[in-house]
């Protein structure tokens, strides 16, 4: 009898925890919509701010939407290009176990490093090279921020590829590279996409790292050397404005940011389902 009630107790505990987590998400969305709905309209998405992002009640946040998309997609592409080879290199085929474990530890420390530290580091490097805050600077710093997240999550799924699968591939006379590209990456594709999404989510939502490096502007950048606005910073500036109408716009901006994250997640999950039909389970 005692064991039965234990079972019931822990099952309810798990369900309650799950419910709490889900209600947090629902709560965030509800608050954002409730507070921002009055400011949410089509010009919010299509226009740049009128009267400045800090005080202006008119216009929209197209500058920040476009900026965030540039920053997050640019950084995601760049860091995928760097992280994939790194994640493959951490496998035992390429480097010895001790060096791999050491690298993992370093990456975990980088993962835990606050993004403002990345921002400060990026700022110092940019000052050294005489660069000013720009789209390029923002993309580079976001890339640095994303790499540890991507590498560690990609590497976890790549390590899950069964040894026997690689063995049959090698037995056909493939090189390590051919097996990695044609078999290992294909087999771990869905996990790799999840890793990219995780990093994308962190990147598009991060404010501190791009505060000094990407800057902020009311305009849409014309080149990668122009400063660029971003949604997290738009939220930050609007919410710290003394004018209530501008504060409402902060919630509308948050809502748009959430929508972008949700849309990107859904689309990539759909794509993964399409592409991962060959996976051996």
């Amino acid at each position: 009898m005692k064991r039965r009630s234990e079972e019931i107790f822990f099952k309810s505990l798990m369900l309650i925890s799950l419910f709490i987590v889900l209600s947090i998400l629902i709560g965030i969305i509800a608050v954002v919509i409730a507070r921002g709905i009055s400011a949410l309209n089509i010009s919010m998405i299509l226009e740049t701010p009128k009267g400045g992002y800090y005080l202006g009640k008119e216009g929209g946040i197209a500058n920040a939407i476009v900026g965030s998309i540039y920053l997050a997609f640019g950084a995601s592409i760049l860091s995928t290009l760097i992280s994939l080879p790194v994640a493959l290199a951490l496998q035992k085929e390429y480097i010895n176990r001790h060096f791999a474990n050491f690298s993992r530890l370093m990456l975990d420390i980088l993962w835990g490093t606050p993004s403002i530290v990345y921002g400060a580091f990026g700022f110092i490097v940019m000052v050294y090279f005489g660069l000013r805050a720009s789209l390029l600077g923002g993309i580079i710093v976001l890339t640095l921020l994303m790499i540890p997240i991507m590498v560690r999550s990609m590497e976890e799924v790549i390590r899950m590829v069964p040894h026997e699968l690689k063995e049959v591939s090698y037995a056909l006379g493939t090189t390590k590279l051919e097996t990695a590209l044609a078999v290992v990456l294909k087999q771990s594709l869905s996990g790799i996409v999840t890793a990219i999404l995780l990093a994308f989510g962190r990147g598009i939502g991060d404010a501190a790292s791009i505060l000094f490096t990407a800057g902020y502007t009311d305009y849409i950048p014309k080149s990668i050397f122009d400063p660029v606005a971003s949604l997290p910073l738009a939220v930050f500036f609007q919410i710290s404005s003394p004018i209530p109408e501008v504060q409402e716009r902060a919630y509308a901006s948050s809502f748009i940011l959430l929508c972008i994250v949700i849309i990107v997640s859904l689309v990539s999950r759909f794509l993964v389902r399409h592409f991962s039909r060959h996976i051996v389970r």
């Binding site: 040894h163 026997e164 699968l165 063995e167 049959v168 090698y170 056909l172 006379g173 044609a182 996976i279």
Partner: protein, 273 residues
């Protein structure tokens, strides 16, 4: 000359001795079964023949394995060419994460076979009477190759209408025949099979055994098995390992009827397993 001859082969995993002083010739165009209790080094011996052992950590191999007179443990050996020459069938089939068609075409593509080479390979196959190729109307060499090797593995009729489906959707018995076709498609001289039927149902297992008996005309086959009855059914030559040592080997008939060593007798009679 024998394709495979092994001289004074020792294998250790860390401090653990897996194989000790193995010296043996493996006969051509026959099925050789490696038998023995679990953990006696059967798979180690098999994987030493295409150097798959090296993928494990801390493996040390000494001694010589000659294939076509060449020591494969010579540092100058072309590993990729060796593995092309020696096909491998694993215990559980692992289809590559691609379609049925691509699974077969993968090896030839990796080895960059030209259309001409593929056609030559198919002609060689048809003249060796393991496979009758009469009405192949396809013009694309790769399509022809895929059809040939799937037929050779006894799978063509079951999959010909769904070549572009993921290989993972096949039943496990079909997957093992796909693995066989995939191994054959790079036209090896030797086929190594590591308990190839242990994950299969009896009917699929029987199909694999049947294909092996057919294929031995053209290929040298080495099978690891822990099923004594399977060895009796298919083997022409038997190698008995016990605790990493080669105890006895010989023609299957003599081996089973008249074993010399006490341990072999005990194993065959079922006193040890």
């Amino acid at each position: 000359m024998s394709h495979i001859s092994i001289h004074n082969l020792y294998v250790t995993y860390g401090n653990q001795k897996a194989l000790q002083n193995i010296t043996i010739e493996i006969p051509d165009s026959q099925i050789t079964a490696i038998i023995g209790p679990s953990g006696c080094g059967k798979t180690t011996l098999l994987k030493s023949l295409n150097r798959l052992l090296e993928l494990n950590d801390d493996v040390k191999v000494t001694g010589k394995v000659l294939i076509d007179g060449e020591n494969i443990y010579n540092p100058k050996t072309d590993l990729l060419a060796l593995r092309k020459k020696v096909g491998f069938l694993s215990q559980r089939p692992y289809p590559l994460p691609m379609s049925i068609y691509e699974n077969i075409a993968f090896g030839p593509k990796i080895h960059r076979l030209t259309g001409e080479q593929i056609i030559k390979q198919i002609q060689g196959l048809s003249s060796s009477d393991v496979l009758k190729i009469d009405n192949i109307k396809n013009n694309d060499p790769m399509d022809m190759l895929v059809e040939c090797y799937l037929s050779l593995a006894g799978l063509w009729d079951e999959v010909k209408d769904r070549l572009n489906e993921p290989a993972s959707r096949l039943s496990i018995g079909q997957q093992q025949r796909l693995a066989l076709a995939r191994a054959l498609a790079i036209e090896p001289e030797v086929i190594l099979a590591d308990e190839p039927t242990s994950a299969l149902d009896p009917i699929s297992a029987q199909l694999i055994e049947k294909q092996f008996k057919l294929l031995k005309k053209r290929y040298t086959i080495v099978v690891v098995t822990h099923i004594l009855r399977q060895a009796k059914r298919i083997a022409d030559y038997v190698i008995f390992l016990y605790m990493g040592e080669l105890i006895e080997h010989g023609e299957a008939k003599n081996f089973f009827q008249d074993p010399k060593d006490q341990r072999t007798k005990a194993y065959i009679s079922g006193e040890i397993s």
